[in-house]
C-alpha cells in the first residue's frame, strides 16, 4: 500500500510512466485547495468547478512539460489561473447578481442578516474589480497568503502587488460606500 503522503513528484513521474490512474491522487489532493480561489475569481461555483476540472485535464495533457514534478502544485496553479482569467475575459459582462447570490449561498448559516448582506455586497463588488485586482485580493484576504507568498506564486514583485491591491481597496470602497 502506498503511503498517503506520497510526494507530488513521485506521482507525476508514475503518471508519466503510464500509471494514468495515479493522476486521481493529485486531483484529490489539490481540487479543494483551489476550489475556493476559482469560485471567488469567477463568482460562480458552476463556472469554478468547470475551470478546476478543465485545468486538471490541461495539466494532464501538459504533464511532461512540468519541469519540476515536485512543484506540481505551483505549476498547476498557473494553469488554473490562466483558465480563470480566460473565462473572465470570455464572460466579462456576466458578473451577475445570480452569481454573487450563488457564491454567497453559504451565508445562510451566518444568522446575521447585516453581515450576510455585506458579504453579498462585497462579492458583487469583487466582480467589478479587474481580474488582476480581484486575484490579489482573493489570494491575500480569502486564501490568507502574504504579499511575499503571492509574489513568489505569481512571479511578480511585492510593490506591484500592493499597488494592485490598493487600487482594489479604493474601487471596493467606491462600490461599497453604502455598506461600510
Amino acid at each position: 500500500m502506498r503511503p498517503a503522503s506520497q510526494a507530488d513528484g513521485e506521482i507525476v513521474r508514475a503518471v508519466l510512466a503510464g500509471d494514468r490512474e495515479r493522476y486521481a491522487q493529485l486531483v484529490e489532493r489539490y481540487r479543494d485547495r483551489y476550489a475556493r480561489y476559482a469560485t471567488r475569481m469567477l463568482g460562480s461555483m458552476d463556472a469554478a468547478e468547470d475551470a478546476v476540472q478543465d485545468a486538471f485535464v490541461r495539466a494532464y495533457d501538459q504533464l511532461a512539460q512540468c519541469k519540476d514534478p515536485d512543484k506540481f502544485v505551483g505549476w498547476f496553479f498557473l494553469i488554473l489561473r490562466n483558465r480563470c482569467f480566460a473565462e473572465r475575459r470570455r464572460n466579462r459582462t456576466s458578473a451577475s447578481l445570480e452569481a454573487a447570490d450563488e457564491v454567497a449561498a453559504e451565508d445562510r448559516t451566518e444568522g446575521v442578516v447585516e453581515t450576510a448582506e455585506r458579504r453579498r455586497a462585497l462579492q458583487l463588488a469583487l466582480l467589478e474589480l479587474t481580474p488582476d485586482q480581484r486575484e490579489v485580493f482573493v489570494l491575500k484576504h480569502v486564501e490568507g497568503l502574504s504579499y511575499t507568498e503571492i509574489a513568489e506564486r505569481l512571479s511578480t514583485s511585492v510593490p506591484s502587488l500592493k499597488m494592485r491591491m490598493h487600487r482594489a481597496y479604493d474601487k471596493l470602497r467606491d462600490e461599497l460606500r453604502d455598506h461600510t
Binding site: 476550489a35 490562466n82 457564491v103 453581515t115 491591491m165 470602497r173 455598506h179 461600510t180
Partner: protein, 180 residues
C-alpha cells in the same frame, strides 16, 4: 486621490501593516469601517468532490473518442508551412517564428488548432477559410522549439497533421510535432 479613495494609512491597516491603535484619532472611524469591509470577506471553504471523477472520466472519454482517429480522415490533407520571421537569416536563439498552418477540409464547418502553445484549448486558435476554397489557414508566431498540436474539426474531431511527424500521446491519440 478621489473622494472615495482610502487614506494611505487605512490601506496599510487593511494590509495588516499597522493596527487600528496606530492610526490617528481622526482616522479611527474610517479604519473601523474599512475593517468591517474585510470582515465581510467570505473565507468559507469550497469543496468540489465531483471534480476527481469528472477529470478521470473526461480523460477516459477522450481516450476512447480519439481511438478512431488513429485512422486519420482521408479528406484532410494538411501541412504546416514555416515562415521564418526574417527569411534568409537564421533565427536568433529564443527566436519567435511565424508558422502558417494549413488544412484542406472540404466538409468542415469550422477548424481550429489546439496544441502546447495554447494549452490545448480547441477554441483558442480558429483557422480561417480562404475565400470559398476548402483551405483553412492560421498563422501563428511561436517561440523556437518543439510544439505538439492537432487540428480540431467542427469542435469535436481531433485530426493530426498528416504532413508532419507525430507522436503517441499515450491515449491512442497522435499529436503532430512541429520543430522550429
Amino acid at each position: 486621490m478621489s473622494g472615495h479613495d482610502f487614506h494611505p494609512l487605512i490601506k496599510q491597516l487593511l494590509d495588516g501593516d499597522v493596527t487600528l491603535a496606530d492610526l490617528p484619532a481622526e482616522l479611527h472611524a474610517e479604519g473601523e469601517a474599512a475593517l468591517r469591509l474585510l470582515a465581510a470577506v467570505d473565507r468559507t471553504d469550497v469543496s468540489m468532490p465531483a471534480v476527481t471523477w469528472r477529470v478521470m472520466a473526461a480523460l477516459e472519454r477522450r481516450r476512447r473518442r480519439f481511438l478512431p482517429w488513429l485512422l486519420a480522415p482521408a479528406f484532410a490533407i494538411a501541412a504546416a508551412l514555416v515562415i521564418w520571421l526574417r527569411p534568409g537569416t537564421p533565427p536568433p536563439s529564443a527566436a519567435l517564428v511565424t508558422v502558417r498552418f494549413v488544412l484542406v477540409a472540404p466538409e468542415a464547418r469550422q477548424v481550429s488548432l489546439a496544441g502546447t502553445f495554447n494549452q490545448w484549448d480547441p477554441q483558442a486558435t480558429p483557422l480561417v477559410r480562404a475565400g470559398t476554397t476548402d483551405v483553412w489557414t492560421a498563422t501563428l508566431t511561436l517561440p523556437a522549439g518543439q510544439h505538439q498540436y492537432a487540428f480540431v474539426v467542427d469542435g469535436a474531431r481531433w485530426v493530426p497533421d498528416p504532413g508532419a511527424p507525430a507522436v503517441d500521446d499515450g491515449f491512442g491519440r497522435r499529436n503532430s510535432v512541429l520543430t522550429l
